[in-house]
């Protein structure tokens, strides 16, 4: 391509047999066209003058074109059969604007890299790759330009643009071995340069040295160590962000919503770390393309599959085993990734169960991803996840009753990337997601069968189109549209009875009405670079939601700004308004599968929030340290909660169980220091925050603290490579206890009954929570890959953290008793990679 370009372009230096003198401009254009057989393509008004003066004999075509057209404003491009006379895009200083675009990928695997920095060193000009590794950067050409690409964990790469012409470049970055090379990226330039604030990214490789829980490292537990993120309960994966509710966190797996991200009653997440490439959490300053949840967006990207060679990995822990395989189907064109995981506690204790009976619990996951490159411009991704939790009991001949509980997610996404040109990138996504929960009980006595099932279900089908367009160095646009069809079945009971002596019954009872809703949104945003220091992201997210013949509409402005104090320091601010049309009915601190996702209805309006945040990001110590400090204030509206004295009741319509119209307020100050030196990496975070709620029908209408209103939250995460073979990691967490409503006294009421008087809602503070976890990992290289042994201890100093406080009773008194769930748990994991 460059050779061809050169040969075409070289026509311009061809000399024409023309004597010096004054000529009519049309004569010159005809002479050029006749001499080289190419047509000149231009607008007549582009000509400088009708008469032009040629100073020398045998001038080149290029010199004649420069006499005909103002070379400061036009440039000439040779195309098959013609020469294009194109107007130069110039900036205010008169420099031509060029566009540099392309993709960034992993040199070894060919996988596209998300969030890589593309920038012009020494300037504030730069961008980051999108979710498909694409970048496009418009910059003024001031001479030879060096364009660099870097990403934490990879060796930086750069190339030179020497001509004032747009260029395409594929960056293939090599994974860095921090032990062997000095050239490592230690900080994300985009942390300082971008307008985006309140966003943290974790690479799956960062997680492998974190302490595990029952031998399993969990992605969501890792993000619970980030500032502003708090676990709702001991060992659980439900989390709250900046004082919001757990249902206000959008979890996306390859762009598809995951409704219940928990396994094992909330103690493990559905994300198999071996299948995950990257996770990114956004807590505030949401750009316009995000919507549908109020408090956070967690994007989990699955590995694409190695396009060049086959690789596999696996592990065995005390709870689960997993295995992954990836490789090319057609080298450099099509690849696959398959990863699966299963717990085996049910298999291990089966020998202890009496013959004829069976009982157990297990969970299993399957992740599959395929990707295919049709051309440089078109690529297709197909990703699929299926997870299942199942608890079962079969009584055998002695006890004819069988029962079970099962729940699971199924998600799939088909994504088609298309590069229209070097400035315009499009992505079409078709998604399908389903979450099922089911309780079943059946009995067979003689020839009579009785079967009762309760189930709830959500099915979403969606279509989305996103566009990235680089208009100029100052403006980069994003836009898109999305439609999702939701099918909510919040509570259905099916009864099946077959009696040998009576009429059979087979009926289905919808306890809560099923809802079919239409969720539509449009968005547009502009990344506007005002000058070298000041940059904005301005956008709007417009959504509408049709349910029960009622249409909700929302206009959600989004604004974020960055002011660059120096190369290493920026100040940021943002304002967002968000609206959410679905709710999670939960009253537990752990993610029980009975937690019910429900839609806004004619009676239950959507929830909304507005958030303002200010922050500062600073690099220190040769960019090995990053310090981020942010303050935020969030207002919540349209909240729902279970009415007092109610909880999950499958036999009742959920709409009668809730109170609506709640409001909330959360504010706090987050501090985050992250470092990434040659051998050590980790972070420290401290957050001071407050979160409150108000419902007319709860707590006698008075404002009350949110259950997870923890005033202080301090965390350390650290990992150190003592040798290339041995790594030691630890995490320590301290936070103020959660809030609870407790009984404080008894008295006789108007009807003569003894009544319990409770404290104001959430007025009691649990004892503080703190815990130290440690991990050690030995890795050994082998001829076929590497293998490692990891040993972890959860809760090293055996802190009895409160999970629940309840009252135990004796004849004359009641005693408050603290129940702690997990104390000093050692675990072991063996893993291998080839």
């Amino acid at each position: 391509m460059p050779l061809l370009a050169f040969s075409q372009q070289s026509i311009l230096v061809k000399e024409l047999p023309l004597l010096a003198g004054e000529y009519n401009s049309s004569f010159i254009t005809d002479t050029i066209e006749n001499a080289i057989g190419l047509k000149l393509s231009f607008a007549t008004k582009s000509l400088k003058n009708n008469q032009i003066k040629v100073d020398s004999n045998n001038p080149t075509i290029e010199s004649l074109l420069e006499l005909l057209f103002d070379s400061k404003s036009f440039y000439f491009k040779v195309k098959p059969g013609k020469i294009l006379i194109l107007k130069k895009r110039l900036n205010s200083a008169g420099h031509p604007i060029i566009t540099i675009s392309g993709f960034v990928e992993d040199l070894k695997s060919g996988e596209r890299l998300i969030g890589a920095n593309i920038y012009i060193p020494g300037t504030s000009l730069g961008t980051i790759t999108n979710a498909f590794g694409f970048y496009s950067l418009s910059v003024p050409f001031t001479g030879s330009l060096k364009v660099s690409a870097d990403l934490i964990g990879f060796i930086p790469s750069s190339f030179i643009v020497s001509e004032a012409e747009s260029a395409k470049h594929l960056f293939a970055l090599e994974v860095s071995n921090q032990q062997l090379t000095e050239v490592v990226v230690t900080a994300q330039e985009s942390d300082v340069l971008n307008t985006q604030m309140s966003q943290i990214e974790i690479n799956s490789e960062d997680l492998k040295n974190l302490p595990s829980f029952f031998g399993e490292v969990d992605l969501i537990k890792a993000i619970q160590f980030l500032p502003g993120v708090q676990a709702t309960g001991e060992g659980g994966i439900n989390y709250i962000v900046r004082g919001g509710n757990p249902d206000q966190n959008l979890i996306l797996l390859d762009g598809v919503t995951v409704y219940n991200a928990s396994h094992l009653f909330g103690f493990f997440s559905v994300f198999n770390p071996d299948a995950v490439k990257n996770i990114q959490l956004t807590k505030g300053g949401f750009p316009a393309h995000f919507g549908g949840r109020l408090s956070s967006v967690l994007e989990v990207d699955m590995k694409e599959g190695n396009l060049k060679e086959y690789h596999g990995s696996g592990s065995i822990g005390i709870l689960a085993a997993k295995f992954s395989l990836e490789g090319p189907i057609i080298k450099d064109k099509t690849s696959f990734m398959v990863s699966t995981r299963r717990t085996y506690s049910d298999v291990l204790y089966r020998p202890f169960i009496p013959e004829g009976n069976d009982a157990g619990y297990y969970f299993a996951d399957l992740n599959v991803k395929l990707n295919h490159k049709f051309s440089r411009k078109d690529r297709l991704y197909l990703s699929f996840y299926n997870g299942l939790d199942k608890a079962f009991s079969e009584g055998g001949d002695v006890d004819p009753i069988e029962g079970g509980l099962k729940w699971g997610n199924y998600t799939s996404a088909l994504r088609w990337n298309h590069l229209f040109n070097n400035k315009l990138f499009g992505n079409l996504t078709a998604t399908y997601t389903r979450y099922n929960f089911q309780i079943s009980s059946s009995a067979t006595i003689d020839t009579n069968l009785f079967d009762l099932r309760y189930f709830s279900k959500i099915i979403d089908q969606g279509l989305k189109y996103d566009l990235d367009y680089v208009y100029s160095p100052k403006h980069t646009f994003k836009g898109g549209a999305s439609y999702t069809y939701h099918n909510f079945k919040p509570g259905v009971i099916s009864i099946n009875q077959t009696l040998s002596s009576a009429i059979d019954i087979d009926s289905t009872l919808n306890l809560s009405p099923a809802n079919f809703t239409h969720d539509f949104f449009l968005y547009a945003e502009d990344n506007w670079t005002v000058n070298n220091r000041l940059k904005f992201n301005i956008g709007a997210h417009v959504s509408s939601y049709l349910v029960d013949q009622k249409t909700y509409f929302s206009f959600q402005p989004r604004l974020a700004g960055r002011f660059l104090m120096s190369e290493n320091w920026s100040l940021k601010a943002s304002y967002v308004f968000m609206q959410q049309y679905i709710h999670l009915l939960t009253n537990s601190s752990i993610g029980l599968p009975t937690d019910l996702w429900v839609t806004s209805t004619g009676n239950v309006p959507p929830q909304n929030s507005s958030q303002v945040a200010f922050g500062s990001t600073h690099f220190f110590g040769n960019k090995k340290w990053t310090f981020t400090s942010e303050v935020y204030h969030k207002k919540l509206g349209g909240l729902i909660a279970y009415r007092e004295a109610t909880s999950f009741a499958p036999a009742v319509n959920w709409e009668t169980q809730v109170v609506t119209g709640g409001t909330g307020r959360a504010y706090g100050w987050e501090n985050f220091i992250r470092w990434n030196t040659k051998k050590t990496h980790g972070w420290i975070s401290y957050t001071i925050s407050k979160s409150e709620r108000q419902f007319d029908e709860l707590n006698r209408g008075k404002i009350f603290p949110y259950k997870y209103d923890r005033r202080h939250d301090f965390k350390i995460v650290m990992s150190h490579d003592f040798t290339p073979k041995f790594n030691l990691g630890f995490t320590w967490i301290y936070n103020t206890g959660i809030k609870a409503t407790i009984p404080i006294s008894t008295y006789t009421n108007l009807d003569g009954r003894t009544t319990i008087r409770y404290s104001d809602r959430n007025a009691f503070i649990y004892p503080a929570y703190h815990r130290l976890d440690v991990s050690m990992r030995w890795t050994k290289k082998t001829s076929w890959g590497d293998r490692s042994w990891a040993f972890s201890i959860y809760n090293v100093y055996n802190r009895k953290n409160p999970f629940i406080i309840y009252y135990s009773t004796s004849e004359s008194e009641r005693t408050a008793t603290k129940f702690s769930l997990f104390q000093f748990i050692p675990s072991f994991n063996y893993s291998f990679r080839f």
């Binding site: 009415r643 909880s647 109170v659 006294s745 006789t748 009421n749 008087r757 409770y758 008793t817 702690s820």
Partner: protein
Amino acid sequence: MSKKLLTYLLILLLFSCEENILIDYPEAQTNLVLNANLIPGDTLNARLGLSVPYTNRTPPPYIKDGDIEVFEDGVFIGNMSVCKSESRSFQSTDSIYTYCLAAVCDPHKNYKLIASHKDYPSTNGETKSTSLPNISNVTFGIGPVNDFINVPISFIINDDPSVKNYYFFEVLNFDSITGSFFDFDFSLSTLDLTIEMLGESEDILEIPTGESSGKKGFLSDHLFNGQQKKVNITLQFTQGFTNYLKVTSCSESFYQYSRLDILSLIVPGENPFSEPYQTYSNVSNGYGVVGSSKDTVIVLKN
């Protein structure tokens, strides 16, 4: 055997996770408890008791050495003293003391009760007295009544626009063999919400059927705003009993107390994940409720 062993190990493991702790909660002190239901046409009665910290399992006692002052529309009308009450709302026993004032409760007056005791902080509560509910056009079913047949009941409440009146109603049947009353279940403790969802502008309030746990149907004042409204309900009746409709008009404090008190009867066990209900109290510096109610009972005949 091995299954049992596993179970014992599991129990041992879980119990080792328990630890008694001291909850130091300043509000868990002993307070006066003042309860009064002022019934128009009856003498004024109240009860005075003490609260007990939750950690103590002693039953909360009534006290007889307290003092209750009564104010009517801001004017002091006398002190209540312990009496032998035969009142419908407060009957005295050996350990349950009733305080009385020889004055009749008038409708639509403001009553304030101030209770004091030498050992505890004084407390007070205030209410507007209600009046007899104005019920008309009571209808009960059509045709013969068989066992467990759905029978519609309807009645009209004529709300007094000059005062705030809250209502609740009950349907009871009397079993002459056992001599006991049986309450019909209505649609939940959250019935008032259900009705609000039906729309306040409707002239007819249809009480939904199907889900039942509450014994009373609650009707908030703002459903009426002085208008006449028809209430429709369908219940399953059994032949052979005498059925009654009881409609109570009450003050806001009595309404709120009764609504939330229902919850204390339906709380599903000690679910640690369930949010507890908050009892209603309009008594400052103490507990209890000072309210007013007046009911009317109609025999249902078809």
